[in-house]
């Protein structure tokens, strides 16, 4: 066994599988997460949540709870009368605690701050709330019915980070629509030789970051301090400032290590109620969700979709029509952005004569839905790719050949006014196919599938970084990316080391404290290496050019850095500071984007047990088309993590709702992949064409594999003879479908 590889000094750090900078801390149990933080005089908060999906609150009596020993305060909506107590980065629709009405089971109604968690939990039982139950809008169908109750009345108010242009008025329970229209769609379908159409269902899914949402809030002398498990501290800061009416600089967000995020900790989540409780208690308060609470804090959107796709006899894809409806729950959360991104993913990266997409974001009386890794693409890629395969089958084409014939090539326009294609998709899918043995013989019950898609990635490209070099020649990088497990601190250290010609261990990357760390929009949308990484590179370049200027030589090496400080400052002190910024080249609007198209390409081989309907995934391949791999090992680990989550989405994961009530709110009945679900072969193919907008030609990764694998499992199962229209592909669903196919005389195919 070899030891840990040394990272090469200076120029050359980039492209190496440098060991994670946080490994020792995390392995030794020293890494601090929000739930490990204890602030002096800290109280423990618990949230009283509605048992009803839709009800009017007729009275709340907190007097018994307030009298309990150890209880410091109880928060209700009555305590927020001095505020405009609604939040939501996209649509400002969500009260800090319910006001007169609850709109989902699990909605916060009150909160208790007590000396310990057990007392706070006991006090919740003593709060008496009278509800008058209302008709429940439990599903998309119910929400769209002509006489449906309206989940959120009143005009839609845009949040601080709506980011999708002007907000149109709501149409019933539809809070947002995204449309794409290109070419003469009716004419195209009228002249098609083959048309496939169907209706499809995608389940609501829980991200299950193993660390639940956790916040410590302190309000003192008009200053609000948060230690929060949040991915986007700068957006949280702005939203808290607006909500509690203080200047942005009076809100300080400190971000410790996060125990996973996957989108569940993007934007604001438990911070408003924690701040409101701390404000009333006049003491710091920690709120740590339990799993059942995090499940109703945010989730992935369930979706219904109707799609049809047309092909001609020459094997050319002609047109596609997509109508889809996203269940965003009782409050919008990131629903509008998810809906738009899904709309962009819907056509798939093919050379269409025409397409029409209408994606709607719909309120229901279920838990709010927001971001989860590869949102939009995961929702729609499996559907589009199933239809491409079915058309190929009817036309007698191989699934790989139909893709070779129709996929867009680099530089082609994908969406009017947006970024053209910046990846070699045909090369990528050929590699994925080869990895799973495409074209070789298959035993009975075995299927192989491919899937190709794109994800609009990078979010809004605004990031900044500061590099400080001290008189000993060591450097510190200040950058607002959250270390959520992806390895951002390791990658940024490599980038700074490269530019500064330092050994990577002489570069330290700190966690975010918004009081000191410069602005970064967010950690998500696979943007950190690409956007924040470019800011780090620019900041380090500035320090390097100062060193070169002081030395009067472009070749100056790190050994002589301390001498340069003495020469420049006249003492073994002073500091060299570099600043790097990334800002949008145009308006930064969604329509002009994305920053880059993240490639979602994969392949899978599955074996179906005809008697039980169980699907076993034996091989997967994913393509990490990353432009340049700053740290190849971390790239592989990202793709592998996405692969297992893709298997979860494809085979197991589903939040089961009945009449607005979540039926599987524990990890006992919400099944996520375990070690035993690891495919026998898992291939991650790294492609480095240096075609990304990030440092050294890099572009982001880590999400594409989730969408790709979910879809490749679905196409592989179809290839084995079982075309499915609903995820997850549980044994029962697959078995029932096989029985239907038998009745129709088309099993085995």
């Amino acid at each position: 066994m070899s030891g840990i590889e040394e990272v090469r000094v200076g120029a050359g750090a980039v492209g190496q599988s440098a060991p994670r900078r946080d490994a020792a801390e995390k392995l030794r149990g020293k890494a601090q997460f929000a739930g490990d933080i204890v602030v002096p005089r800290m109280l423990h908060g618990k949230v009283l949540r509605s048992p009803h999906p839709h009800a009017r609150i007729t009275s709340i009596d907190t007097s018994d709870a307030e009298r309990m020993a150890g209880v410091v305060t109880v928060l209700t909506a009555a305590d927020l009368a001095d505020l405009d107590p609604y939040w939501g980065h996209a649509i400002r629709d969500r009260p800090v605690v319910a006001i007169d009405r609850v709109r989902f089971a699990g909605e916060p109604v009150a909160a208790v701050a007590a000396e310990d968690e057990a007392t706070a939990a006991a006090a919740l039982e003593r709060i008496v709330v009278d509800y008058e139950e209302l008709d429940v809008v439990g599903t998309i169908e119910q929400a769209l019915a002509p006489d449906a109750p309206i989940v959120n009345e009143g005009p839609l108010r845009p949040g601080l980070f709506h980011g999708l242009g002007e907000l149109a008025p709501a149409e019933g329970n539809v809070c947002y629509r995204y449309r794409l229209d290109r070419g003469e769609i009716e004419a195209v379908f009228a002249h098609a030789d083959f048309v496939v159409e169907g209706e499809y269902t995608f389940p609501a899914v829980y991200q299950y970051a193993m660390e639940t949402h956790t916040v410590v809030a302190q309000v003192e002398e008009g200053e609000i301090t948060l230690w929060a498990s949040c991915q986007h501290p700068f957006l949280v800061r702005a939203e808290i400032a607006a909500l509690f009416q203080v200047p942005i600089s009076n809100v300080r967000v400190v971000v410790p290590y996060l125990g996973g995020g996957f989108g569940s900790k993007s934007y604001t989540k438990m911070e408003p109620i924690a701040v409101a409780l701390a404000r009333k208690a006049c003491r710091p308060v920690r709120i740590q969700n339990r799993v059942a609470e995090s499940m109703v804090t945010t989730r992935r959107h369930g979706m219904r979709c109707r799609m049809r796709t047309a092909l001609n006899r020459e094997g050319r894809l002609l047109g596609r029509e997509v109508d889809c409806w996203f269940d965003t729950g009782a409050y919008a959360d990131n629903g509008p952005r998810v809906t738009a991104t899904a709309g962009d993913a819907a056509p798939g990266p093919y050379r269409w004569a025409a397409y029409r997409v209408d994606a709607a974001c719909v309120y229901t009386n279920t838990a709010p839905a927001g971001s989860y890794r590869a949102f939009g693409a995961t929702h729609l890629q499996w559907i589009g790719e199933l239809q491409v395969d079915e058309l190929a089958r009817r036309a007698g084409l191989d699934p790989l050949d139909i893709r070779r014939l129709n996929l867009c090539t680099p530089g082609e326009e994908l969406r009017a006014g947006g970024k053209p294609l910046d990846a070699d998709l045909i090369g990528d899918v050929e590699r994925a196919a080869e990895a799973v043995g495409w074209g070789t013989d298959k035993p009975p019950g075995t299927g192989r599938g491919l899937s190709v898609g794109l994800l609009a990635a990078g979010a809004h490209p605004v990031s900044s970084a500061i590099v400080r070099m001290e008189a000993d020649g060591n450097a510190v990088v200040l950058v607002g990316t959250t270390e959520v497990g992806q390895g951002a601190r390791t990658v940024f250290a490599q980038i700074a080391a490269e530019e500064l010609r330092l050994p990577a261990e002489r570069v330290t990357v700190r966690g975010t404290d918004t009081r000191f760390t410069p602005y970064d929009r967010s950690t998500g949308a696979s943007r950190s290496t690409t956007v924040a990484g470019l800011a780090v590179k620019r900041a380090a370049e500035q320090v390097r050019s100062q060193l070169v200027e002081i030395a009067g030589s472009a070749d100056v090496e790190s050994d002589s850095y301390p001498e340069l400080f003495v020469r420049h400052f006249g003492l073994a002190g002073g500091e060299l500071i570099g600043r790097g910024e990334v800002a949008p080249e145009g308006s930064g609007s969604y329509a002009e984007g994305p920053v880059f198209w993240e490639v979602c390409i994969g392949a899978a081989e599955v074996v179906i047990d005809e008697d039980t309907g169980r699907v076993r995934v034996v091989k997967t391949a994913t393509v990490a088309d990353v432009g340049r791999a700053i740290n190849p090992q971390l790239v592989e680990r990202q793709d592998e993590g996405g692969t297992l989550q893709g298997l979860g989405n494809a085979l197991y994961e589903e939040m089961v709702y009945e009449d607005g009530l979540l039926m599987n709110e524990t990890l006992l009945d919400y099944r996520v992949p375990t070690f035993e679900d690891l495919p026998r072969e898992m291939h991650c193919i790294i492609v480095e064409n240096e075609d990304g907008p990030g440092p050294y030609g890099a572009k982001g990764c880590g999400e594409g594999s989730l969408a790709a694998v979910t879809a490749a499992v679905a196409t592989a199962v179809a290839d084995a003879g079982v075309p499915m229209t609903e995820l997850p592909l549980t044994p029962e669903r697959v078995w029932r479908r096989i029985q239907e196919l038998k009745e129709d005389g088309i099993w085995p195919r």
Partner: protein, 153 residues
């Protein structure tokens, strides 16, 4: 009630509630925060500690049931001579990401290595199936543990 036990090789004595969970005892009374809380139903493994050398889910294990026994947490494991091998293997294979499952995973691995039952890839997968990891996709951890158990992947 009064609880006496060994934690990471040192005696500990504390007044506890009879219904107190070992996880809360370790985290809140002793400040040993390496063991984490997640599922609360012994499905995820992030709260795993060793009691007399065997892995238990401390979220569902009464502190009182550890009376007179030896509890090992990741903080104690990290002080042991065999830890360096574990640390090197997990670091070399990047067998961690967010790190939230890592302490529980390491303790399970340490216990399984001790019993010598990890003799094949399938055994490793089965042995670790009670420790969930949402980030890594398990591949890096599998490689690290196979290295440690000298099992060919």
């Amino acid at each position: 009630m009064r609880l006496q036990l060994q934690v990471n090789g040192s005696p500990a004595v504390s007044e506890i509630e009879p219904q107190e969970l070992l996880l809360d005892f370790l985290r809140d009374r002793l400040g040993l925060t390496g063991a984490k809380r997640s599922c609360d139903v012994q499905a995820c493994g992030v709260c795993t500690v060793l009691v007399d050398g065997r892995p238990v889910s401390s979220c569902c294990f009464l502190a009182a049931d550890a009376a007179g026994r030896e509890v090992l947490t990741v903080e104690g494991l990290a002080e042991r001579p065999e830890f360096e091998r574990l640390e090197n293997a997990f670091t070399r294979h990047a067998a961690l990401q967010c790190g939230f499952c890592t302490p529980g995973m390491l303790l399970t691995v340490a216990a399984l290595l001790e019993t010598g039952e990890l003799t094949s890839v399938e055994e490793v997968k089965r042995g670790l199936a009670g420790n969930l990891c949402r980030c890594t996709g398990y591949r890096g951890i599998l490689e690290a543990v196979c290295d440690l158990a000298e099992v060919t992947t």
